[in-house]
Amino acid sequence: MRRIITATVQDRGGVLNRITGMLNKRQFNIESISVGASETEGISKMTFVVEISDRQKLEQLTKQLNKQIDVLKVSDITDKAMVARELALIKVVSTGHTRAEIQGIITPFRASVIDVSKESMTIQVTGRPDKVDALIALLRPYGIKELTKTGVTAFLRGQQPDNITEMNSMIN
């Protein structure tokens, strides 16, 4: 199963190294990690997307993260109402006559063209991971020259409704 786990960590030297080293040593399968500043100075937020085989392993993961001295809080938000977003930059092959076609494809995704050259255009897309993946799939036939993703960053919604499975369906 795929889970989204967030951690609040103290910004100390080596914290990222310590955490990724632990994940590697204990053989957790990490799809993405994103790290950045939080609302509080000196405290960062990390978001992990992990592919995990069972509950027991998942419990180990959260416990091992919690055990880290710099980790303040760990939450598995997969089953909560949340917002999860990522950003991708996609450099796709485009010559004069495909350019308009590609424009047409990206518009419904609210993606934007941020660079154009003779043989390519670079597209920026932000959104839920499934949306980003869908756009990438549509662009693939044109020839993707370069692709980079930030990894998912996520947190809980302001309000937790009763039925949330549907809302989160995109991450499963």
Binding site: G13, N17, G21, Q56, Q60, K63, Q64, K67, Q68, V71
Partner: protein, 575 residues
């Protein structure tokens, strides 16, 4: 001749340098012994040690190899309960510590390790004796620091001691660049610390205690499995009260030996790969297994599919991440072992009805005791250990190295006290035993310290005979000399059709002469009739001794759970 060096900073004798500040914080931390080895990057620290000698209540012990220093610090920590303190220089000094740091991490020993580092202006340039100590030690420490501002030094050191010695103990590294230790300090620093992410849970959740109490009252085949967590929690008294109150049988892990008196009726001895039949079968048949401070290591469990298959498992541990890590746990209790046992002692629990079980276990104990073949010349190693036990009246501190002799020491030296057994469990580090005895003797100068080692492992760290001589430490080294890497030989005999690949020694040094060359008494014994007299002599002798006991080469540690087998599939249970 006076040579002027162009140091990074000017050192003014009257002002406090980072190194002086370090010494001061070590004094504040009540350190009494430091195990260290000098070198370029720690010269300012060694200079401060020298200059402050008159005011420092601690001793610096110069082991002859950094690995010796750190194993000594581990031995010290194990027998005193206090953190062991180590200083090493940058680069090779620091990397020589790696085995010991890993060993301490695996066995949860509190250590605070100071490594020198090259000056900050050259960090990252592959400077002379630069090693990425932070990178290398991150996976093998409970925590590590590099100090990048002198004002942070006192706080960092305080934190390091706190982290190393609380919760589940472990090693903490403090990496100090040379400019930090050499520079003149500010005097306005703040050493208060707050670690919001590190708040170990000490008190058990009362609901979990009730659950456990309830399970106990219904149990027909209860069993306590005890690990070293009870020693760190200083819980032996409570453990004994609890076991006796409900007449609970007790087995321990290798590292847990002594946390419950081995001579007590309720003791089944050690469990695991070379544990007793009674202990392992008790685990196999138990219907309530209460683990207190053990981590279900694979040498204990054997094949986990067959581990305690009938049991409800309760696990008391201060480290939540150990609970459910390898064995599914029904009643998790995150707590300090002493607090959890006190909570259980203060809970009204109906006496479990388990007389049949107790009778059966006693019968197993009687029917399947540990056994060995007795030989006279060379000696049977197991018999030798029994004599060591008898002559020292079971009261010595025993350190071991790793191999057959370690298992025989665990089997045939019965421990009644918690902090007298010093062995490398998790990492199984050859070369550990003798330097650990150095640290143990320094930590407990009035106790008899016996180091039981193999002829292989002793040669990994025997250079510490120097420090034993220099410090007049009356450590008794008992070499169980089988002219082989015995444990490797045993596995090759059993699992590799006697293909003894690189495991037989024909070229050992003359250990008696080796000892004598250090100015230490050496003896050699190969006849049974000389053993007891020799042991009496050397234990009474007021100085270090190296005793080379010649034992039978071709003998194996039994009983045994072969790799991959279940805890109920022991071989070599009877003669």
């Amino acid at each position: 001749m006076k040579i002027e060096a162009s140091l990074d900073v000017e050192v003014n004798g009257n002002l406090l340098t980072g190194a002086d500040l370090l010494i001061k914080t070590l004094v504040d931390a009540d350190v009494d012994t430091i195990f260290g080895y000098p070198g370029g990057a720690v010269l300012p620290i060694y200079d401060a040690l020298y200059r402050n000698k008159a005011e420092t209540p601690f001793e610096h012990v110069l082991c002859r190899h950094e690995q010796g220093s750190i194993h000594a610090a581990e031995g010290y920590a194990r027998v005193t309960g206090k953190p062991g303190v180590v200083i090493a220089t940058s680069g090779p000094g620091a990397t020589n510590l790696i085995t010991g740091i890993t060993d301490a991490m695996m066995d949860s020993l509190p250590l605070v390790i100071f490594t020198g580092q090259v000056a900050e202006n050259v960090i990252g340039t592959d400077a002379f004796q630069e090693a990425d100590v932070m990178g290398i030690t991150t996976p093998i420490t409970k925590y590590n620091y590099q100090v990048n501002d002198i004002a942070d030094l006192p706080r960092t050191v305080k934190e390091a001691f706190h982290i190393a010695s609380t919760g589940r103990p472990g090693p903490v590294v403090v990496d100090i660049p040379k400019n930090i230790s050499a520079n003149i300090t500010v005097d306005d620093y703040d050493d208060d610390f707050y670690l919001p992410g590190y708040q170990p849970t000490l008190k058990p959740n009362p609901l979990q205690v009730i659950k456990l109490a309830d399970a106990l009252s219904r149990a027909k085949r209860p069993l306590l499995l005890v690990g070293a967590g009870t020693k760190f929690a200083d819980a032996s008294v409570e453990l004994k009260q609890f076991a006796e109150k409900y007449q609970l049988p007790v087995t321990t892990t290798l590292l847990g030996l002594g946390s419950f008196p081995g001579t007590n009726e309720l003791s089944l001895g050690m469990a695991g790969m070379h544990g007793t039949y009674a202990a392992n079968m008790a685990i196999y048949e138990s219907d309530l297994l209460i683990n207190i401070g053990a981590r279900f290591d694979d040498r204990l469990t054997g094949n986990i599919e067959h581990f305690a298959p009938a049991a409800k498992v309760a696990h008391i541990d201060i480290d939540p991440a150990e609970i459910g890590k390898v064995i599914e746990t029904h009643i998790p209790v995150v707590a300090d072992a002493k607090k959890a046992l006190n909570a259980l002692l203060n809970t009204q629990i109906d006496q479990p009805d388990h007389k049949d079980w107790m009778d059966k276990l006693q019968e197993n104990k009687k029917e399947y005791p540990l056994w060995y073949e007795r030989t006279e010349t060379p000696l049977s190693p197991q018999w030798l250990i029994e004599q060591v036990y008898n002559v020292s009246k079971g009261e010595a501190i025993v350190t071991t190295d790793v191999g057959q002799h370690q298992m025989w020491a665990a089997q045939f030296y019965t421990f009644d006290k918690p902090n007298n057994w010093v062995t490398s469990g998790g990492l199984g580090t050859m070369g550990f035993g003798f330097p650990a005895a150095v640290g143990a003797q320094l930590g407990r100068p009035d106790d008899l310290v016996i180091s039981i080692v193999g002829d292989g492992g002793f040669q990994m760290t025997c250079q510490e005979l120097s420090v034993v001589k220099q410090r007049k430490l009356p450590v008794k080294v008992i070499i169980v000399n089988n002219e082989a890497l015995g444990m490797v030989r045993q596995w090759q005999e059993t699992f590799y059709e006697e293909r003894y690949s690189e495991s037989l020694f024909s070229e050992n040094p003359d250990f008696v002469k080796l000892a004598e060359s250090y100015g230490i008494r050496g003896v050699r014994v190969d006849r049974e009739e000389d053993v007891i007299q020799t042991l009496e002599d050397i234990f009474a002798y007021d100085g270090p001794v190296v005793a080379d006991f010649r034992v039978v080469r071709k003998t194996s540690v039994y009983p045994m759970i072969a790799p991959g087998k279940g805890i109920h599939e022991m071989v070599g249970v009877k003669k």
